[in-house]
């Protein structure tokens, strides 16, 4: 039996549980593990004889395919289990798993495949993807009742009527500490690594006696310190761990009895998953405390609770035929047993991901891995795969070894490694942050105050600092946009606030803000698109609220500004958040019916979006991953910092060279597609345009900047001003608006 699990850490956990069961039921079974961490001797023994039950990761499966003898060893396989399939399905690792399963089906007679998945918005689809061509034969078994989750929101004492997203929820520090104190062991989730570092520090400032039992865990920290925290946590030796999505999944932390979420989780499934980290015993109730960082998040918590009650969970969209993964898989098979083109093409087409792979795409990918693609014509120095009478193999041992090192789809970022002078590693930082520091500067990282000593070859050497404080690094790309499902629930909550008798505690708490919104403007209903207009000394503001999440709003706002400029040219500044966006223009627009029709017209949406976004630059950045997966970038041998220097090139450089000298390259096309789908979310953007087009439009000349508009305005100012000037200005703005609001209260 083969057991595939997404995480190495989970593999250890699975091993333990399976062994317990096997020792009682059938002690003659052997259970073993094979991951990237396995020792040479284990691998060698396993190469000779496989255990009865074999636990591994998708990458390790791929690695086994890359050795000759795979067919022989796996022929007698009877059962395959794919665990935590929901974690894999939306990613390229899922595609790698699909390809590995197709290989297994080819070499075995008759296997039974089990998939284990959390409930998804598209569980049926998840099943189809796992089974590929065999999905007709599938049976779905559900566990019936879901987990009992209780969501408790901590209400702030004062509800700000003009909220902005600059807070970290620190005003709620004391109630949070109280909860931690009264619990056995707590996981405190934040949405960004930046927030995690700050919360860790603030708690420790307040509770010095927790040093040693308060932990920090995020993706940029060194693996060893993360593992140490995980182990202490599972042994029940941690009072609290401040963490990010890095602990969303992982080993069973049964001692954890409390989970706290700082800020909106932005998705229903994420909140459920985090809640599930506590009360891990069957039948136990999971309790989750939500801490808002601004008043609007109260709506989101309330919406997430309804979402969970209704079982409205986000789907995970499977990835369609990524050619980079295919190219890697072809070389993997050629490195192992070798193949005939027609056979492998047929095999690959049995997967869900590549079911629609055309013959041309197959030919191109084959040509790419064999000859390096069309543009390489006949360079004698290039050869990777050789054909012997139509049978493809990799002969060169160096290339085989190098390919095995490159298997997998997770790219490690080129980041600066942070180390103590005596060698202890702390984790990684973005080059951008490091480039702002000078030797002698202090900064906070990995829960400590550190001093910059020197930077050598992308390694930052640090020592402990005497200072108490310093800047905290911000990592890019960390912010999750509001999911479609949660956004829908937010719209419903806003309607219920106006129509339902009892809208719930969060909605009641936020009523001072919503009442004012209603007084100065309206609270949009689900079939209504609210557009607020306001003239100030800055210019003409348009605030538009589609509730589609920040990413989609970035595309939408750029698109609408572009279309406005075609009505009459003007200069724009734009600001976006999860609820809507602001377009500030030097030009006033009337927005009559004819203009509205033009703005939301369905023609040329994609063309216009490409016209106004820096999609080429985005594709360039995307290309890094693709180049790595397809074997264009060699990351070096694991455990060794030495890379063959003569083989270094950045993704951006490769993108430039390939698009210039090989314009038909399908990997370049793939990068562009990935940007359209995942970065600009074009399908969601098209849906949003349709919804806006069909909605009833309320265009309101507002007397003041409304509570919903305020965070957008602050966002825009933040782009321009330093933080000190900004907070002064925000304070002044709030005072003015509060004045106006109070006058209303008395009138």
């Amino acid at each position: 039996m083969l057991w595939i699990t997404p995480l190495r850490a989970l593999a250890n956990d699975t091993l333990r549980s399976l062994k317990t069961a096997v020792d009682e039921l059938c002690p003659w079974f052997s259970v073993e593990l094979r991951t990237g961490d396995s020792s040479q001797s284990t691998r060698k023994r396993q190469a000779e004889k496989l255990p009865t039950i074999f636990i591994t990761t998708p990458e390790s499966l791929s690695l086994m395919i890359s050795y000759p003898g795979f067919e022989e060893r796996f022929r007698s396989l009877k059962v395959v289990v794919v665990d935590e399939w929901h974690e894999l399905i939306g990613s390229k690792r899922g595609v790698l798993t699909e390809l590995g399963l197709a290989r297994i089906r080819t070499v075995t007679e008759d296997i039974r495949l089990w998939g284990v998945s959390a409930t998804l918005g598209n569980t049926k689809k998840a099943l189809e993807v796992l089974l590929g061509r065999w999905s007709e034969e599938a049976v779905m078994i559900g566990s019936g009742k879901g987990k009992n989750i209780e969501i408790v929101t901590l209400l702030p004492e004062i509800i700000e009527r003009f909220p902005w997203a600059g807070h970290l929820g620190i005003t709620m520090l004391n109630p949070v500490i109280d909860i931690i104190e009264s619990s056995n062991s707590t996981l405190l989730f934040t949405n960004t690594r930046y927030q995690a570092e700050i919360w860790y520090h603030k708690i420790l400032d307040e509770k010095i006696e927790w040093a040693g039992i308060l932990g920090l865990h995020h993706g940029s920290m060194d693996k060893e310190s993360r593992t140490a925290v995980e182990q202490l946590l599972s042994k029940g030796k941690m009072k609290c761990v401040v963490c990010t999505s890095s602990l969303d999944l992982g080993v069973d932390f049964s001692p954890v009895d409390t989970v706290i979420q700082i800020g909106s989780p932005k998705g229903i499934a994420r909140l459920m998953q985090r809640a599930g980290r506590s009360g891990h015993q069957p039948g136990a109730k999971s309790r989750l405390y939500c801490v808002p960082t601004n008043s609007f998040e109260l709506v989101e918590f309330s919406a997430a609770r309804s979402g969970i009650e209704k079982g409205k969970i986000e789907p995970r969209t499977p990835i369609e035929k990524p050619l980079d993964v295919l190219a890697q898989h072809i070389v993997t098979v050629a490195t192992g047993e070798g193949f005939r083109s027609d056979d492998l093409f047929e095999e690959v087409k049995t997967t869900h991901s590549f079911r629609n792979l055309s013959e041309q795409e197959w030919e191109w990918t084959m040509e790419f891995v064999i000859k390096g693609g069309k543009a390489l014509k006949a360079y004698p120095e290039y050869s990777k795969i050789r054909s012997e009478e139509g049978f493809y193999v990799v002969e060169n041992e160096t290339l085989r070894r190098r390919h095995r090192m490159s298997i997998g789809t997770i790219t490690s970022e080129t980041e600066v490694v942070v180390k103590f002078m005596n060698g202890g590693s702390l984790g990684t930082l973005e080059e951008n942050f490091v480039s702002r520091l000078k030797p002698g500067d202090s900064f906070i990282f990995s829960g400590r105050v550190l001093e910059y000593h020197k930077l050598v070859d992308m390694v930052l050497y640090v020592k402990k600092s005497d200072k108490k404080n310093g800047p905290v690094p911000q990592w890019g790309g960390g912010r999750m946009p509001l999911s479609t499902e949660l956004a829908d629930e937010v719209r419903i909550k806003l309607r219920e606030f106006q129509t339902a008798g009892n809208p719930g505690i969060e909605m009641s708490a936020i009523s001072p803000l919503l009442d004012l919104q209603q007084k100065w403007s309206v609270i949009p209903m689900e079939d209504e698109l609210l557009i607020e207009k306001k003239k100030t000394t800055e210019g003409f503001h348009l605030f538009i609220y589609p509730f589609e999440g920040k990413l989609v709003h970035e595309g939408l706002s750029a698109l609408l500004a572009y279309r406005l400029s075609q009505i009459q040219s003007a200069t724009f500044s734009i600001s976006t958040n999860d609820y809507g966006f602001e377009i500030l223009s030097t030009q006033e627009y009337e927005l009559d019916n004819e203009q509205l029709e033009w703005l939301f017209a369905k023609e040329n949406i994609v063309e216009d979006v490409l016209e106004v976004t820096n999609s080429t630059e985005m594709a360039q950045r995307k290309f890094r991953d693709i180049a790595r997966i397809a074997g264009l970038v060699f990351q070096g041998y694991p455990g060794s910092s030495k890379k063959p220097k003569q083989l270094q090139a950045s993704g951006a450089l490769l993108f430039e060279v390939l698009s210039k000298y090989d314009p038909g390259n399908l990997l370049i096309k793939q990068a562009e597609m990935e940007v359209l789908e995942t970065q600009l979310e074009v399908s969601r953007l098209m849906d949003a345009m349709k919804r806006m087009r069909e909605s009833r439009k309320s265009i309101i000349d507002v007397p003041f900047i409304t509570p919903m508009a305020f965070p957008l305005m602050v966002n825009r100012m933040r782009e321009k001003l330093t933080s000190e000037k900004l907070s002064d200005r925000i304070a002044k703005l709030i005072a003015n608006l509060e004045n106006a609001a109070e006058k209303e209260d008395f009138s």
């Binding site: 790419f368 891995v369 000859k371 390096g372 693609g373 543009a375 390489l376 360079y379 004698p380 120095e381 290039y382 050869s383 990777k384 060169n396 290339l399 190098r402 080059e431 951008n432 480039s435 890019g476 074997g631 264009l632 970038v633 060699f634 063959p644 003569q646 083989l647 270094q648 090139a649 950045s650 450089l653 490769l654 060279v657 390939l658 210039k660 000298y661 090989d662 933040r718 782009e719 321009k720």
Partner: protein
């Protein structure tokens, strides 16, 4: 036209920044450039990594333009002319050889860089004189590695310097550049298939950025 380009004066010598990612030393009639890394794409291909050719021709074209524009008598490569021996194909050396033979009236000097060692020298093209370091006018020291030397202004390469220019918010742009500091000039990498490393200029420094056929300068 050459007089409109940005320039810098060091110890009574004039260096003109060319849009072709090279410098012209007016008093010496000399073209200075560094880090071409010829044959880098071929090195990748030899290692089974599929990168198409094209950059060699483009680089030679740009080099021709620089020679024509300045009418330099001498061309000094400040190291890393050839990327690696595995990419030193006959096609590459012949292309370079032909280009040099077409210019019999010019003098060519290569200052050895680390990559020139790992590509076994350039004996195939005897017209190129190879030296480790070069002292000119008793004031300028030309070498590959950026190591300062007392009493000299060092002109070198190796680093592939780039600066990060910041726009509003998180917007920022990384641009390859030449970096003039008090006692040293590190030249922009000439080759089109080369990476960069970020440097941080000090107050008083000047950087020149040759990009897309134009050249800009910033004084810090």
């Amino acid at each position: 036209m050459i007089n409109d380009l940005p320039q810098i004066k060091i110890k009574d010598s004039t260096f003109i920044a060319l849009p072709q990612k090279a410098f012209f030393w007016v008093e010496e009639f000399t073209l200075l450039l560094s880090d071409i890394h010829f044959g880098k794409t071929a090195t990748f291909r030899a290692a089974g990594i599929a990168i198409p050719e094209g950059s060699t021709t483009d680089d030679l074209k740009r080099l021709s333009d620089a020679v024509e524009l300045t009418n330099a008598k001498k061309i000094i490569f400040l190291g890393d002319l050839i990327h690696h021996r595995t990419g030193k194909t006959r096609l590459i050396t012949e292309q370079l050889k032909n280009w040099i033979e077409e210019r019999p009236d010019k003098e060519f000097i290569l200052i050895t860089g680390n990559h020139d060692k790992s590509s076994d020298g350039i004996s195939e093209i005897p017209q190129i004189k190879v030296v480790d370091e070069l002292i000119i006018r008793n004031k300028f020291l030309l070498r590959h590695h950026p190591e300062s030397q007392k009493g000299f202004f060092v002109i070198c390469g190796h680093l592939h310097p780039a600066v990060r220019l910041r726009g509003t918010g998180h917007d920022s742009l990384r641009l390859a550049c030449t970096h003039f500091s008090k006692n040293m000039a590190v030249l922009q990498a000439f080759g089109s298939f080369t990476g960069t490393s970020i440097i941080r200029p000090e107050p008083g420094d000047t950087v020149f950025m040759a990009h897309d056929g134009e050249v800009f300068s910033i004084k810090y």
